[in-house]
Amino acid sequence: MPDILTYVLHYGGAFNKNSLGAVSEGAKQAAAIGGSCHAVVVGGDDLTDELCKTLGNYGATKVFRAKGPEGLAQPVVDAMAKIIEENGHSYALFGGGLLGFEIGAGLAARRHAGVTMEVINIKADDGKLVAERPILQDSKISDSHYRGDLGIIIGRINAFEVGQPSSDEAEVVDVDVEFSPWSSQAKMVKRGEQRGADVDIEGADVLVAGGRGLGKAEGFELAEELAKAFGGSAAVAATRAVVDAGWYPYAAQIGQTGKTVSPKLYLAAGISGAIQHKVGMQSSENIVAINKDANAPIFEFSDLGIVGDLNKIMPKLTEAIKAKKG
């Protein structure tokens, strides 16, 4: 039977939204190729029977539960390799993020399998799955066909929608995994540290987002002033580049390892428009970009693009909006 095994990430007693999306997608595709969708979870005592059973709500019929360290990829590779070896799954599916990439790639090495990342769509064709992946800065889409016993599909974040939960429950099966020596050579010291202030950007109608083009931490004052001029629920967001640099809080980060937003207006200043940023904001209703490089990828997906120096434009724009509002 062509079964699909999906990895489900959890944190603080709750499952990751992208993982739930992968389970929903896995169930849909399993039905299309005549197999079942199973899930695998790795962690400690917070993975209770009650919690694990709820994966049935999204279409998993069985949940393999292994005791192991959380937040690290290699122990999950060990668990999935064992489960796949014993149960013969044809596909492994991940909802994206960061761990999914690492686990999927490690599993490809371990099982000599094909792997495709950044998948935005899966098609069932004659009992097999074909993965669609954008390439060349999203200007083309390539179809991945798999050879061999196992195909690995790593979704782009938000590519797989979480289905309407049913009342079905999954069977929970405990598996004993003997971890590889190298899997125990990485130890989590501190997980999920929130760097910077706890700002709330998810409810904002207008987001003024800043990137490395703001030049320095103080450059964010331009973004804050502009957000203030819009008033109401306007807030300031950021790219990973500036959050990693300590210029702005992690809570304001948009993208693959940050938040996903869809405000009425997303005004990006000094942001190149990398795919990992785009995936967190592309469903915004209106996208305006200010960038001094006419070739910046962000102009490919903005509704209004301004080619120019943000240091000249933002202060005047702030004044003009204030004046307009009176």
């Binding site: 603080g12 937040g71 690290l72 990829a73 290699q74 590779v77 993020g97 960061l98 761990l99 690492e102 999927g104 790639a105 490690g106 090495a109 371990r110 000599h112 399998a113 094909g114 792997v115 990342m117 954008p134 390439i135 060349l136 800065q137 999203d138 200007s139 083309k140 889409i141 390539s142 179809d143 066909h145 798999y146 050879r147 590889s180 190298w182 050579q185 990485a186 130890k187 989590m188 010291v189 997980r191 999920g192 929130q194 760097r195 990973r240 580049a241 959050v243 990693d244 390892t257 207006l265 209106n286 209004l304 301004i306 080619v307 120019g308 000249k312 005047k316 003009a320 909006i321 307009k324």
Partner: protein, 263 residues
């Protein structure tokens, strides 16, 4: 301690990338350069050497790629590597991520490094995952996207951003680490280093030299076949304003926003 840095030659960012319709592979002709993300990995190696916490005996740049890839190696050497290893073989052409990672792991195995460093992503491949593939073959612990790395005795303390915030992970050596671009500010090579790079030892090895199983690499050994390239759904092109006169530009932006009731 011996550090190997994986580097890749990629199309220059300024050159438009495309698929060659006759082969269905990336057109790799045109201007090429060292993958910019890999300069952070070389710089990280240099900072370990200069940091003094451990003795670094050697930094070796390693690549797999066509004959032209030697230029990426020379650039890596001009940035601080002591010598380089070029894995080059027609049999490797068309390898997918898993096959590339396997081949690279065989090249690395021949060097027995204590630490393998990589870039966060290749400008053309955009997979972010070669490190995880390589690590599994080498049976080493691994982490990607590391933005802070402290070296001591036989271990590393690494920090990186994952999906719930920043993680701090303690890793013992040998290990495979891909570094994020926030980890450091790569130095510029001196003219002397650029001139001297061509004189540093460069080994070229074939797949056979490294004991690479030919059935696991190349287009035939790859388990993913890419094809049927098609266009994404067309999206209406946005309006572009070139900022010549900022007052005028700002007026246009305000009018645009006002039309959509966004102010």
């Amino acid at each position: 301690m011996k550090i190997c840095v994986l580097v890749k030659e990629v199309p220059d960012a300024a050159v438009e990338k495309r698929i060659d319709p006759s082969t269905g592979r990336m057109d790799r002709s045109g201007e090429r350069n060292l993958n910019p993300y890999d300069t952070h990995a070389i710089e990280a190696a240099m900072q370990i050497r200069e940091g003094g916490a451990v003795e670094v005996d050697e930094i070796v740049a390693v690549t797999m790629g066509p004959a032209t890839a030697t230029r990426a190696l020379q650039k890596a050497v001009s940035l601080g590597a002591d010598r380089s290893l070029h894995l080059s073989d027609d049999a490797l052409a068309g390898s997918d991520v898993a096959a590339t990672g396997y081949a690279l792991s065989k090249a690395l195995e021949s060097e027995s490094p204590d630490l393998v460093l990589l870039g966060q992503q290749s400008d053309d491949g955009e997979c972010y995952t070669i490190g995880a593939v390589v690590a599994d073959h080498l049976k080493m612990p691994s982490l990607t996207q590391v933005i802070k790395m402290d070296v001591s005795g036989d271990g590393l303390t690494c920090e990186r951003q994952a999906e719930y915030g920043y993680d701090t992970v303690q890793i013992s050596l040998p290990a495979v680490i891909s570094v994020g671009d926030a980890i450091n500010e790569p130095r510029y090579p001196s003219l002397k280093a650029i001139m001297g790079a061509k004189k540093k030892p460069l080994d070229t090895k074939s797949a056979g030299d490294l004991g690479i199983d030919a059935s696991l690499v190349g287009a035939d050994g790859s388990r993913v076949q890419c094809g049927d390239f098609h266009d994404p759904p067309a999206k209406a092109a946005g309006q572009i304003i070139e900022d010549d006169d900022t007052d005028e530009t700002v007026q246009k932006i305000v009018a645009w926003l006002d039309e959509r009731k966004l102010i």
